[in-house]
Every structure is written in structure tokens, then in C-alpha cells.
């Protein structure tokens, strides 16, 4: 993996998964990511868009690599994304995004220094944690991940999830977006990329969340236009292909330790 911002990462030709770097680790910023994961994508897209130089450490969640200290530092929370900056290890996408925005002095609009503007982002992220994160991951679990271990998510749970997504999108439009260009201000912030990546997790399965929601659809176009088509394509290429990969049996067979975790996660679907 080279450090030149904007260049395409190495991808496995058969499944489009990101490949780990060809050379051993060197000093500098390292980001441990799996582009299967929404928060991983948010961090990736932010770092790339802002030309932040980093070593990509690809972690394949489906293979359980996040549980293996060969792939992910053992003293992490064993989830992605993880940031390593010299000796400093940081978990949690929001913490990582804030850290990067401050350390690399990204453009103010991402995480404004104005107090009220900045707090609107935290306000959005608080609600996002309750109502967007997890909720918008259920479809992928139901359609791709649970079937990998032979589990079917009940129609009742899916119906419940569709209603929850509906309510969340309505609230996103009515309380956050309203008549603004972006969720918390007239410019793109950390909130928008966190939101976009969660919604993409459903969109890639062929579900048009934006149907009948012209304001949200326009917001999505604006975010993607700002990020740039190339960067969006690069970041989303794996997740866009996931249904096909599953259908062609090209996704890994999760190892036993992953199966038990997946079962727990599936059981938690309300």
C-alpha cells in the first residue's frame, strides 16, 4: 500500500477486498480498517479526501482477523477502525475522525471551531449512535452475513427494522437536514460522512432509501459530489459488490470464533 493520497489501494482481483501492504510496517500513521464496516469507510474517506498520509492495515472481519493480534493490535477493542500513531493507539471512529481533523488541521468546516456549530455535530452523532448505527446495518446482516452461517433473520424483525429506518430517515430530514445543504450546517462535516456510510450499507443491497425523500436524495448527491466520484467508487467498491460475492460464494467462511460472535450480534437484532 503506497502512501500517495488519492491512489487506488491494492485489491484482490477475485473479491475486491483490500490487500495488506506488500512491505512490513514502518513508522507513521496507520489505519486499521475493513471497508465492509461503515465507520471504517467514514475514516477512510476522510483521510483520503484530506490527503492525510497513512498506511492502510486491512483487517478482514469475516475471517475474524480483528480477533488476531497479527492483524489488529491486541490492546485495541478488537473492532475496526483503529488508529495507530507511533505508540498511540485509538479506537472509535468518532474519536479517530476528531483526532485526524485536529492533528492534520483539516478545513474548518469538517469540525468547526465555532462552539455552537461544533456542538451540532456532537448532537447529531449522539442521536446517530442510538438511531442510525446498528439500525442501518440490519439489512446486510439479514441478506448477506447471517446466511453465511446459515441463519435467517425473521420477517418480524425485518419489518420492525424497516419501520425503524423509516422513522430515523424522517427525523434526519425534519430535525437535522431541514432546509440546509448538509446535516448540521451549510457545509460538509464529520456528521455527513458518518451518516452517508451507514445509509450506503442499505443502499448497496438495492434498497432505495431515498425514494420519496427528495431532500435526503439531494443531500446524498451533494455529499458524494463534494467527496468526488473517484473516491466514492474506491471506498464503496467492495460493499457494492458484496451481494454478488455472496451469491457466487466468494465470501470467506467465518471461522468458529467468528460464528459465535455473529450469532450474538444477530440475536441482538430487535
Amino acid at each position: 500500500m503506497d502512501l500517495i493520497p488519492g491512489s487506488c489501494p491494492r485489491c484482490c482481483p477475485c473479491c475486491l477486498r483490500l490487500l495488506p501492504p506488500a512491505r512490513p510496517a514502518t513508522m507513521g500513521l496507520e489505519l486499521y480498517l475493513d471497508l465492509l464496516s461503515q465507520p471504517s469507510r467514514a475514516v477512510y474517506i476522510f483521510a483520503k479526501k484530506n490527503g492525510i498520509p497513512f498506511q492502510l492495515r486491512a483487517v478482514d472481519l469475516l475471517k475474524g482477523q480483528h480477533l488476531n493480534s497479527e492483524f489488529l493490535p491486541a490492546n485495541s477493542l478488537q473492532r475496526v477502525p483503529v488508529l495507530k500513531d507511533g505508540d498511540f493507539l485509538l479506537n472509535e471512529s468518532v474519536a479517530i475522525l476528531i483526532y485526524l481533523s485536529i492533528k492534520y488541521q483539516t478545513a474548518d468546516h469538517w469540525y468547526p471551531s465555532d462552539l455552537q456549530a461544533r456542538m451540532r455535530i456532537h448532537e447529531y452523532l449522539g442521536w446517530h449512535g442510538d438511531c442510525i448505527h446498528s439500525t442501518f446495518g440490519v439489512s446486510l446482516w439479514a441478506q448477506v452475513l447471517a446466511p453465511l452461517i446459515g441463519i435467517q433473520v425473521s420477517e418480524e424483525k425485518l419489518k420492525h427494522n424497516r419501520a425503524a429506518m423509516d422513522r430515523a430517515l424522517q427525523f434526519m430530514e425534519d430535525k437535522f437536514l431541514r432546509d440546509k445543504a448538509f446535516l448540521t450546517s451549510q457545509q460538509v462535516t464529520l456528521a455527513d460522512i458518518m451518516a452517508l456510510e451507514e445509509l450506503m450499507q442499505v443502499v448497496v443491497l438495492g434498497c432505495d432509501l431515498f425514494e420519496g425523500r427528495p431532500r435526503l436524495a439531494a443531500w446524498r448527491q451533494r455529499v458524494e459530489a463534494f467527496l468526488g466520484a473517484d473516491l466514492c467508487r474506491e471506498t464503496h467498491s467492495f460493499i457494492w459488490s458484496i451481494r454478488e460475492l455472496a451469491a457466487n460464494k466468494k465470501l470467506p467462511d467465518p471461522p468458529p470464533e467468528m460464528r459465535s460472535r455473529m450469532l450474538l450480534r444477530i440475536a441482538r437484532i430487535p
Binding site: 471512529s93 474519536a95 485536529i102 462552539l115 461544533r118 452523532l125 442521536w127 449512535g129 448505527h133 430535525k175
Partner: protein, 247 residues
């Protein structure tokens, strides 16, 4: 009109905000919103927060919801001592990391533990099934282990050598489960068998001040009795929201 804080000390995030504001002598008008009386469902409160949840902050024309946002706002606006949310990039990142992690882990599990163990039996008049309770407590246990092993480790406080927003948010969550069992006792004594966490709790309480700590937790200490006295029609109105909250 100065700073207004819409709180119910029954709620963990509300307690964290209350303690923080009081500890730092931030002048505010307390607007108590009694959840068990359904006051958060009123039209008047919906004007403040359309999500009808506490906590909420009103500072002149500026209204803010979500506890982490409110804590950070107070931190910046009132220029509190640095240790609460350090300027140092990496020290601050540690606090951000905890605040992000706790949202769907400790917070969710403490809420579920309180409701499954204490509140539902009173609210519904019947205990929750042993399987559900056992599963809830098991999840809480895992979360507490992560809290000790990954966050606290051998430090005095969660994010470093001094108390920060992380500790306030954490302690009010843990007290949610622990305090509700007094004076009845039995069951969910989370500090028992966890000397590291118990020692941390003492340090947090000492740093906050015993009087303030006690004051903030008075309401949750009486929660079980308050719930049993709640109006049945209000209970009925609250049930769907409670169930949604603890999913």
C-alpha cells in the same frame, strides 16, 4: 433568561450533567422534567426537544440535546479546568474514545440491567424471565470487564491521571444499576468482586465531592419506590418508549 438545563436525575446522562455543572459552579436554572410523571411527553417540552427526551439545554436562543454535546458545550463555554476535557490532542482523544464507546455498550447494558432487574418487576408487577435477566447481566459483566481492562487499566481515572468527562459519564451509568438496589441490596452489586472498579469509584466520588455525589443520586436511590407509585395510565403511556429504549 440564562442557561437552563432540562433534567431528571432519574436519568444517567442528566446526573452527569448536573454533577458537572454544579462541580464547576456553572450558573443554571434547573428545569426538572419528571419522566415517571410523563412530563417529557408534554407539548411544552416538545418545544424544547422534539425527541421528548432529557437532557436538554437552552442557552438564550440556542437549544441543544444529547448529553455528550451538552457536556462539551458546558466545558468549552465555561472554561472549566483542563483535566475535564484536555487540550492535549492525545489526552483529549482518550476522553472522546470513551464517550463514543460507552454510548451503545455500558449505557445500554446499565439501562437494561436496571429495568430488567429492578424496574420492570415494579412497573409490570411481575419479574422478567430468568433467561432474559441472566443474559442482560452477562452482557453487563462483559462490558464491565472491558471497562476495567481496556479503559481503566492501571490508571487512576478512565482517560488518565485526573478525572475527566469520561469518569462522570461512566460513574453515573454504574450508579444506575448499583444505587437502585439500595437499601434492598442483593443481585446486581457490580462493585463487589471488582476491587479495581470499586477503588476507581471511590476516587471519582472523592474528586466530585461526597455531598454533591449523594445529592445527584438521591432520586435514583428512591427509584424503585417512585416507580411503584407512578400513575397506571402514565405507566401505560411510558411503556412503548421504555421498551424502545432498552432494546
Amino acid at each position: 433568561m440564562g442557561l437552563e438545563l432540562y433534567l431528571d436525575l432519574l436519568s444517567q446522562p442528566c446526573r452527569a450533567i448536573y454533577i458537572f455543572a454544579k462541580k464547576n459552579s456553572i450558573p443554571f436554572e434547573l428545569r426538572t422534567v419528571e419522566l415517571l410523571k410523563g412530563q417529557h411527553l408534554s407539548d411544552a417540552f416538545a418545544q424544547v426537544n422534539p425527541l421528548k427526551m432529557v437532557p436538554a439545554l437552552k442557552d438564550g436562543d440556542f437549544t441543544l440535546t444529547e448529553s455528550v454535546a451538552i457536556l462539551l458545550y458546558l466545558t468549552r463555554k465555561y472554561q472549566v479546568p483542563d483535566h475535564w476535557y484536555p487540550q492535549d490532542l492525545q489526552a483529549r482523544a482518550r476522553v472522546d474514545e470513551y464517550l463514543a464507546w460507552q454510548h451503545v455498550t455500558l449505557r445500554r447494558n446499565c439501562l437494561r440491567a436496571l429495568w430488567h432487574k429492578v424496574m420492570f418487576p415494579v412497573f409490570l408487577g411481575e419479574p422478567v424471565s430468568p433467561e432474559v435477566l441472566a443474559a442482560t447481566l452477562a452482557e453487563l459483566d462483559v462490558t464491565l470487564q472491558i471497562l476495567e481492562d481496556k479503559f481503566l487499566q492501571n490508571k487512576a481515572f478512565l482517560a488518565g491521571p485526573h478525572i475527566s468527562l469520561a469518569d462522570l459519564v461512566a460513574i453515573t451509568e454504574l450508579m444506575h444499576v448499583s444505587a437502585a438496589h439500595k437499601p434492598v441490596g442483593a443481585g446486581c452489586q457490580i462493585f463487589e468482586g471488582r476491587p479495581k472498579l470499586a477503588a476507581w469509584r471511590q476516587r471519582v466520588e472523592a474528586a466530585v465531592g461526597a455531598v454533591l455525589f449523594q445529592e445527584a443520586h438521591e432520586v435514583i436511590l428512591k427509584a424503585k419506590d417512585t416507580v411503584s407509585l407512578a400513575d397506571p395510565s402514565v405507566k401505560q403511556k411510558l411503556m412503548p418508549r421504555v421498551l424502545a429504549m432498552i432494546r
